[in-house]
């Protein structure tokens, strides 16, 4: 029997997260009293509630059959990767190269293979971005690497 691993895993993660939050808040922030709630009151109480809910999700999930779920790994990696590229490159390489590389990376995980349409799309989106954000909105971002 395949167990409901998604619920079990997430329930466990949430339970641990709740305990960690409650523990951190209890040792670092003043709990206060009901009359004068301190900054630690809310996180401690809710962290414990989250831990209880996580256990409530995880424990029954171990005893029942889970539904098959499809996790789009390549798409996740491609999309998150393209965002990281954008975030890390923007201030160093300028808007135009950053956008081009982001679009190329993101389109690599599309269900249609081929490089031609991706290059066309890259040029189109990069041009649109340049026109909108540099030409139109005049955003204070360099378009090209600073050394150029």
């Amino acid at each position: 029997m395949r167990r409901d691993l998604y619920d079990a895993a997430w329930g466990g993660v949430l339970a641990l997260l709740g305990l960690a939050v409650a523990g951190w808040a209890a040792s670092n922030y003043d709990f206060g009293s009901l009359r004068r709630m301190g900054p630690g009151f809310f996180p401690v109480v809710l962290g414990l509630v989250l831990a209880a809910l996580g256990a409530l999700i995880a424990v029954p999930a171990l005893a029942r059959r889970g539904t098959q779920r499809h996790f789009a790994w390549p798409e996740t990696v491609g999309v998150v990767g393209s965002l990281l590229i954008f975030g890390l490159l923007l201030n160093r390489a300028g808007l135009v190269p950053t956008t081009a590389l982001t679009v190329l990376t993101a389109s690599a995980v599309a269900p249609r293979p081929g490089i031609i349409w991706r290059l066309v799309l890259t040029v189109a989106v990069t041009a649109l971005t340049w026109v909108l954000f540099i030409g139109g909105l005049d955003m204070p971002i360099p378009a090209w690497p600073r050394s150029l």
Partner: protein, 495 residues
Amino acid sequence: MTTLEGLSHGLTVALQPSVLIYSLFGALLGTLVGVLPGIGAMAAITLLLPITYYISSEAALVMLAAVYYGAQYGGAVASILLRLPGTPQSAVTTLDGYPMAQQGRAGVALFAAMVSSFAGSMLGIVILVALAGWLGRLATSFGAAEYAAMMVMGLVAASTIGEGRPAKSLSMVVLGVLLGCVGTDVNSGVQRFTFGQVQLLDGINLVALAMGLFGLAEVIGNIRKAERDGPPPHVSLRQLVPTRDDLRRMVAPIGRGTLLGGFFGALPGTGSTISSFLGYALERRVARQPERFGNGAIEGIAGPEAANNSAAITAFVPTLTLGIPGDPIMALMLGALVIHGIQPGPMMLEAHPDMFWGLVVSFGIGNLFLLVLNLPLIGLWVSMLRIPFRWLYPAIIVFVCLGVYSVRGSTFDIVMVAGIGAIGYALAVAAFSPALLLLGFVLGPLIETNLRRALLVSRGDLVTFVERPVACGFVIATAALLALPLLKGLRRRNG
């Protein structure tokens, strides 16, 4: 200000050229994202949030609202033609809309959806005006205890009434409230969960959170899903013309759907998605020939479409008069209001008549515009369905990045969106609701502040939540909402 004075005042606000243009832009953009499967109103509104920093508060809210109700119109198009709901609200429209399209009556189905949406919205505006004044007066007597109890009730209602396991839904709400704690605590000045990061002093950025949870997570999940084969059918203007029988069958469902949607839209926690599902169930129950449903019954389009549009309008009632958003989209609206320094509440009608009445009138103008323009433009919207998603999503990603960056020029926020997006997608795959997380995030700080204030006033005595009749009502309702799934579970085990 009487209703009539208010409306004429609103007319002067809504007819300002800048407000009018943003309203029309929002309505068109909303229809477009509604039509395109893979991007919804939520993603579109988050993408527009950064822009609202640069325009007047009236124009900003009018635009965001127009995106929301515009998407309700557009959502039906893909539902009817491709059996792919463009928005969650229009999922039920596939049940009878798609069979009608297969019978060659796609045009009539689209007409029914548009006209019902329009009628539902217009009557929803009447309900909004009636309820807002009444609720505003009622809410002036509310203290901190009532607010805290009511917001908790809203969050619990949203978790237990909706679909999914209640424990999973509640866990998302609690996680959202905890994320809302990050940053400088307003009451004590203590920095909570910032771990020395300067970027986190103001808390997690609402735009970054919403973009990661919705914009990005939706893109990841839809790259493969939204790719389909075969072009949509061709729809001409002539095909839109309904028969007299069709029209006759639409009237009563529109009325019922509007009332139902108007009621559930105004309740905190239940929104337009639940309304459209309930609207469909209601129509099937009252129908003389329920077997027609699922085989192309026009009532099955008219009822839910009127209900979800009516609910989309009345959802503004608790948002504007109590400052309590009923669904995540309203949470973003509230966020946009707060960005502009407007704290909605019982005094909203008196303190910000421009905003309130301007919005109300703009709803009317925007919906009229959508009806007049969408019927002739139907061919254009249908042809939009031919654009494959792979041409769109890389551009969406770039816009997400630039949108987040523009808020405060921080590339840290872009990296954070990437992380939130990955977590949001993993949560969505496991059937955890990111919408509830966002709702908790927005309401969390308000609950904490009000709870603190209520307990300070009562000197730490929890009895205050039972002594005050209105607060006690909310507490009892919350307990009932929590007990409901428990009872259901017990019955299932015994039966």
